[in-house]
């Protein structure tokens, strides 16, 4: 009995072995043979349909544009929806669904809508859809803050709509770039689960999270979240500029893999391009690299309440002089950033040409000697290590630069998942934060980063330095209701000047943006400083 079991079992592994070896051989040979037919098959397909294979570091979290205010969702919105107006590359407003607009009075802006526009569902686009969309924006957790100054939208006739504000407001057009009209008929009523179709749900099922009907250049025809999204050209789209018929979006999170996918020809377009691979792509034949100075400012905030030394203006100025913006941009960012002396990048109303980075170590030492802390002091600092480009290295460079003027900093870095709670709690004297203005306007920087902290109004919500200057507050608030662009610009530029002179914080640089694609595309024409490539306008030759 025992012997027989032994024998039969003995044959088993042998048999298995033979089976497996042959299986491997098959797989191996199969792999070799497969290449050719696949390539042959790919070649004749190309002229039939123009497909853009797009790889980004993430894919849209939802199909509902109002579920989250983030770069990714806005990129998605520009593909599937279309806004009333949008920015061109020089930050001018250009007509989209609104053909023209005029100011009726201090509180009212009138938009004349494009006629004959259809939604993906086949419904006609009218003023009612704009009213519906603005109402919905005012309900969205993420957007209601931005649309707080608005009373709402009012339809004048089928193709005319007024945006009405509570007080005179200078940023009506900026906000109109966020109005991506949604199909009011499509999103009304209840779905088969008995839930209202227009509800905005962040963490669970909702009709709008999984279905879309916009007026944009592409319709979502297939979506597997985190794996693949297929966008198909909307045949009735009114703007015939672009010729891409299909976009296949795959999220590729790993930087090296994303670049390899482009280099190997598996994808046609990648964003973002990791800084270490810029040269490689630029020098590769058949590929095209486009970079642009961005508008996200990276700053160190110096907490004046937590550490008395940082309340000394001379100390803060000394630190600003001791920080070598250009050195960091060159050595750490590999030239892939623009050194900053202020918050507002070029093109913003508040950008003050006179405020340049001011590295001067001798001057910094002199200022320290004059300050209340000639022998230096100690401070704590925290920074994220996976939020901004090279954030950890930048923080380390800052620590070593400050040590030259006698400031001993103990730095702690952490992943962004933990960082923001620590940031809010003001866990350290010096904290790093990057900021992109939602409104593409300077005022937004001041409202969140440099106005006096006020928990009631919410101003200064991310001002963990507790920098507070009544004049900054006054000018920022004045700019909000100022509708004369020249006056607004003067106010905002004065704010930048005050902050610069007092070194309210230390501005580092604006991160650059980057896109890479095959050379036969007009990539340089569709990208912009907001990082919302207008794929609807993309032309593949």
């Amino acid at each position: 009995m025992k012997l027989s079991t032994f024998k039969s079992a003995g044959k088993l592994p042998l048999l298995l072995l033979i089976l497996l070896v042959s299986a491997l051989l098959l797989v191996g040979c199969g792999g070799e043979e497969k290449k050719e037919p696949a390539e042959k098959a790919a070649a004749p397909e190309a002229p039939a349909k123009i497909t853009l294979k797009l790889a980004m570091d993430a894919d849209p979290v939802s199909l509902d544009p109002h579920v989250q205010l983030s770069g990714g969702m806005l990129q998605f919105s520009h593909m599937v929806f279309d806004s009333l107006v949008r920015y061109d590359q020089d930050m001018n407003f250009v007509p989209r669904l609104a053909e023209k607009w005029e100011r009726i009075d201090d509180l009212t802006m009138r938009f004349h809508l494009r006629k004959g526009v259809k939604f993906h569902s086949g419904n006609d686009f009218t003023a009612d859809d704009v009213v519906f969309t603005v109402d919905r924006l005012k309900k969205s957790e993420d957007y209601k803050g931005l649309f707080e100054p608005f009373v709402g939208a009012k339809a004048v006739d089928a193709h005319t709509v007024d945006l009405i504000t509570k007080k005179p407001y200078g940023l009506v057009l900026n906000m109109a770039t966020y109005v991506f009209p949604m199909d009011s008929k499509f999103y009304s009523g209840t779905d088969d689960k008995g839930k209202a179709k227009d509800t905005i749900v962040k963490t669970d099922y909702s009709f709008a999270n999984e279905n879309e009907s916009g007026t944009g250049p592409f319709m979502v025809t297939h979506r597997e979240q985190g794996v693949k999204t297929v966008f198909t050209r909307f045949a009735d789209y009114w703007d015939k500029t672009g010729n891409v018929e299909e976009i296949v979006l795959s999220p590729i999170k790993n930087d090296a893999t994303r670049v390899a996918a482009l280099l190997s020809g598996d994808v046609d377009f990648i964003m973002p391009v990791p800084p270490q691979d810029l040269e490689r792509i630029d020098s590769t034949e058949g590929l095209k690299l486009v970079t642009m100075s961005g508008s996200r400012i990276i700053t160190f905030q110096l907490n004046q309440k937590r550490n008395p030394a940082l309340a000394d203006t001379k100390v803060r100025l000394a630190m600003a002089y001791a920080y070598d913006n250009n050195g960091v941009v060159e050595k750490i960012m590999k030239g892939f950033a623009t050194a900053a002396g202020q918050m507002s990048p070029k093109g913003y109303v508040g950008h003050n040409e006179a405020l340049a980075p001011r590295y001067d170590l001798e001057k910094a030492k002199a200022l320290m000697a004059e300050s209340g802390y000639p022998d230096g002091f100690e401070a704590t600092m925290i920074a994220p290590n996976n939020r901004y480009v090279n954030d950890e290295k930048i923080a380390e460079a800052f620590v070593s630069m400050m040590s030259k003027i006698g400031i001993k900093i103990s730095l702690k870095t952490m992943p962004k998942a933990q960082y923001w709670d620590e940031f809010d709690a003001q866990a350290a004297d010096i904290q790093l934060i990057g900021w992109h203005s939602d409104t593409e306007d300077s005022g937004n920087f001041y409202e969140f980063l440099s106005m006096c902290r006020n928990t009631e109004t919410g101003y200064g919500q991310y001002n963990s330095g507790n920098y507070c200057n009544a004049k900054v507050d006054e000018l920022t608030l004045a700019a909000q209701t100022e509708t004369d662009p020249a006056k607004r610009a003067a106010d905002c530029q004065e704010v930048e000047k005050i902050q610069y002179d007092e070194a309210g914080f230390i501005p580092l640089h604006w991160q650059n943006l980057s896109w890479a694609s095959k050379a036969n595309m007009n990539t340089e024409e569709v990208v912009n400083v907001m990082n919302f490539p207008y794929f609807g306008d993309m032309v593949v030759k």
Partner: protein, 325 residues
């Protein structure tokens, strides 16, 4: 068999409880999932409201007991990012990982056995030395480096194999997306499986070789030689069979570890399985999904080790599974 099964289930339950508790303790200290769900201008008060709505403000034990109560009914919580039940997300992603592990295991079994045996029989031959020194290199090279190298050589330079993803898949049984049945899917599988197998393969070659060499020195093998049995039979039937016992034990444990190693491989190849899903859920603080993954992997560990115990009994009849008659 009955006693064995009961014992196993009991063990599994205890293991699951421990894993879920640890997972939950981590989750509780992992930062705020709400951060990743809202834009920068949403106020702290509104964030607090969302936290309240999601039940994240309750004390640790309250949340844990609620989680256990739901888990018993098969509900592992809600993935905030995918906006779906976590178990549904994991089941959708599991086939990708399991197929990857299967192919890597196949490569390991098919290569390590003949190579290990050969290196034991002819330890002095040039080929054996080559294999052994090669295995040292393999063991000391991190998976992500192997993976990047493979991509660089076969995708970027040679354009032979696709660089990322699973390619074309076929849906089986209504839910299992398989890449094993299409040419495109198989091509996508080659590099990730090689990368994943690269850690374990050298280990198994060395293990089989040393076990085999030990067995070849034993009395009964010498006796078999003396009887004049053919070399092939001595090697493969007499010696190799006893080599297998420790190999299976180690293999069971390693298969579980391999599931964990998929995290690295999947991240590099953008392989849409549970591993990359886990790492992304960590980055997004999608805590329910994290805990669900840990529980699910725990189940796999328990299942694999149970299977190993049973196979062990089959291969070596002198070892009886406890409780089996």
């Amino acid at each position: 068999m009955f006693a064995f099964t009961v014992k196993r289930i009991l063990q599994a339950v205890i293991v699951m409880l421990i894993i879920s508790f640890i997972g939950f303790a981590i989750k509780h200290n992992f930062g705020d999932p709400v951060r990743d769900l809202v834009g920068q201008r949403v106020t702290p008060a509104e964030r607090a409201q969302i936290r309240e709505r999601l039940g994240l403000n309750d004390p640790f034990m309250v949340q844990y007991v609620r989680f256990l109560g739901n888990a018993v009914q098969g509900d592992l919580g809600q993935s905030y990012f995918f906006k779906k039940p976590a178990s549904e997300v994991i089941i959708k992603k599991a086939p990708a990982t399991l197929e990857l592990v299967f192919c890597a295991a196949l490569i390991i079994v098919v290569l390590s056995i003949p190579l290990g045996i050969y290196a034991a029989i002819k330890p002095k031959s040039l080929f054996s030395r080559f294999v052994m020194s090669g295995s040292i290199v393999g063991v000391s090279m991190p998976v992500f480096l192997t993976a990047i190298l493979l991509i660089y050589i076969f995708s970027v330079e040679l354009h032979w194999l696709p660089s990322y993803g699973r390619g074309e898949t076929v849906r089986l049984f209504g839910w299992w997306d398989s890449g094993l049945l299409t040419l495109d899917g198989l091509k996508h599988l080659i590099m990730p499986s090689i990368a994943l197998s690269s850690i374990m393969l050298p280990l198994f070659i060395r293990l089989i070789r040393s076990e085999m060499m030990e067995v070849l020195e034993s009395e009964y093998v010498k006796y078999a030689w003396a009887k004049g049995i053919k070399p092939r039979r001595v090697w493969l039937v007499h010696a190799f069979k006893n080599t297998l016992l420790p190999v299976i034990t180690v293999g069971g444990v390693q298969l579980g570890i391999m599931v964990a190693f998929t995290i690295l491989t999947e991240t590099v190849f953008q392989w849409q399985g549970m591993g990359s899903m886990f790492i992304e859920s960590v980055e997004r603080s999608d805590t329910s999904l994290m805990v669900a993954y840990l529980v699910f992997v725990g189940i796999i560990f328990v299942l694999v080790n149970t299977a190993v115990d049973i196979i062990y009994g089959l291969v070596n009849p002198t070892v009886r599974v406890a409780g089996r008659q």
